[in-house]
């Protein structure tokens, strides 16, 4: 449809954006794999909020990649604010809540296994 085509950018700029995002995703993945193989000691021995700095870096880079996939490839940047927020905020809120609850509980059970008086390795 004519009006559909008019809404989107001309061909040149859209494909340029796609290749830029592909470049960013590739570089971030390469950095992740390199860090995973080298595992620099200062990153594995520094802790931030009870987690290794290296793991924080991995998680932040992953969210960074997810942002580009959702915004550029899935066209969230071209959707209305309403649709974008309905999808992204709902997901992020529920996922953060779930992760917080389950990791807290998992850590609690670890403490019970470790300090409790019941032997589980016999």
């Amino acid at each position: 449809m004519a009006q559909d085509t008019a809404q989107h950018h001309d061909h040149g700029s859209a494909s340029k954006r796609i290749w830029t995002v592909f470049g960013i995703l590739s570089v971030v993945t390469i950095v992740e794999v390199a860090l995973g193989i080298i595992k620099p000691t200062f990153l594995t021995h520094t802790y931030l909020l009870a987690m290794k700095l290296l793991n924080w870096i991995f998680i932040i880079l992953t969210v960074y990649k997810a942002y580009y996939i959702a915004w550029a490839f899935m066209h969230l940047e071209h959707e209305t604010k309403g649709l974008r927020r309905a999808v992204v905020w709902t997901g992020i809120f529920l996922i953060c809540y779930l992760i917080f609850i389950l990791l807290t509980e998992g850590n609690y059970i670890y403490e019970v296994y470790k300090n409790g008086h019941v032997a589980w390795d016999f």
Partner: protein
């Protein structure tokens, strides 16, 4: 008589109906809400993985010691290289997909066809790689010994390099013969015999002074703790109950069985998504070929299936991080 109200007096007002606040078609919006619910399913799985991992935080397997193989490179230690390659393949098939969507906006049938085809090929290569990854994982690497408490004891030499069960075992004339269907009264086969019995491993371990037991526990540097020769002998004689090679839903030579369970479940569920994505892509591909969307005047269907395909890629980014990197 006016049975139906034809005018409400609110035409043109915000709540008067006929509004299109999200400016998206019904199909596209529903695809987004399906993706949202599917994302919650996957995060449920990944959070459950995190729960189990936190529960056994000091004895969880180290992923880059588990996934060290690369196709056609036998005996080469290549931690994570193959998964990284798989990630690239999936990201690239996402790129070809978004190029197909873009070509669709410009009503270029030839380009849509080409990019859809490349996307399908990328998806098939990825599913094939996952199948290979599974078979390598199931077949196992070095083998290990299980204990009464359900732990795994692995073997290393004095340099800390892993030693396979086949290098340790001393053949002992079979105490147990495999019970096959044709010998049984009820034509029931017995359990398969392990390739190496515990007695063979114990005998070989006593003879070879250079071999030590490596436990599941991590030290402060995140390496597995290796026992001294005396501790190793004691552990093996007192606690070992059997040998295990490879991984399945019950046993796992790499460490905790939950690691294997979650590996099969999460990568399996993701692989199923990739597979169904490929099928849907093929259907859309043929619709493009026969000109359905050309006649319809809009390639929005390509955009909707594209959303699903990018979502599969998005999930993989997280699976890759939490299963292989963190």
């Amino acid at each position: 008589m006016e049975a139906t109200v034809v005018r409400t007096g609110t035409e043109g007002k915000t709540w008067g109906g006929g509004n299109d606040p999200l400016k998206a078609s019904y199909g596209k919006m529903m695809m987004w809400f399906f993706i949202l619910s599917d994302a919650l399913t996957f995060s449920g799985f990944l959070a459950a993985y995190g729960f189990s991992r936190f529960k056994f935080i000091d004895s969880w397997p180290i992923a880059d010691e588990v996934f060290t193989h690369f196709p056609f490179l036998h005996g080469v230690e290549a931690p994570m290289y193959y998964v990284a390659l798989m990630t690239f393949i999936l990201i690239f098939s996402s790129v070809t997909m978004v190029l197909a969507v873009d070509a669709g906006h410009h009503m270029k049938k030839g380009k849509v066809t080409l990019y859809m085809f490349l996307t399908i090929i990328g998806g098939l290569v990825f599913v094939g790689s996952q199948a290979w990854e599974w078979s390598t994982f199931i077949k196992g690497d070095y083998g290990a010994v299980t204990t009464k408490g359900g732990n795994i004891l692995q073997f290393v030499n004095t340099e800390g390099e892993r030693v396979a069960l086949s290098e340790i075992a001393v053949p002992i004339e079979g105490a147990r013969v495999e019970h096959e269907r044709n010998n049984g009264i009820w034509f029931d086969a017995g359990k398969d015999l392990p390739a190496y019995s515990l007695e063979e491993i114990k005998a070989g371990f006593v003879q070879n002074e250079d071999i030590l037991v490596r436990t599941l526990m991590n030290d402060e540097d995140g390496n597995k703790i290796i026992l001294s020769r005396e501790e190793s002998l004691m552990k093996l004689n007192n606690e070992a109950v059997g040998t295990v090679e490879g991984a399945n839903l019950i046993q796992n030579e790499y460490g905790h069985p939950l690691f294997a369970d979650f590996f099969f479940f999460i990568t399996g569920f993701h692989g199923f998504h990739v597979f169904s994505g490929v099928i849907i892509n093929i259907i859309i591909f043929f619709n493009v070929l026969i000109g359905t969307y050309e006649r319809r005047g809009s390639y929005e269907m390509v955009e909707k299936v594209g959303l699903y395909w990018h979502f599969v890629d998005l999930v993989w980014v997280f699976v890759f991080t939490f299963f292989y990197l963190v």
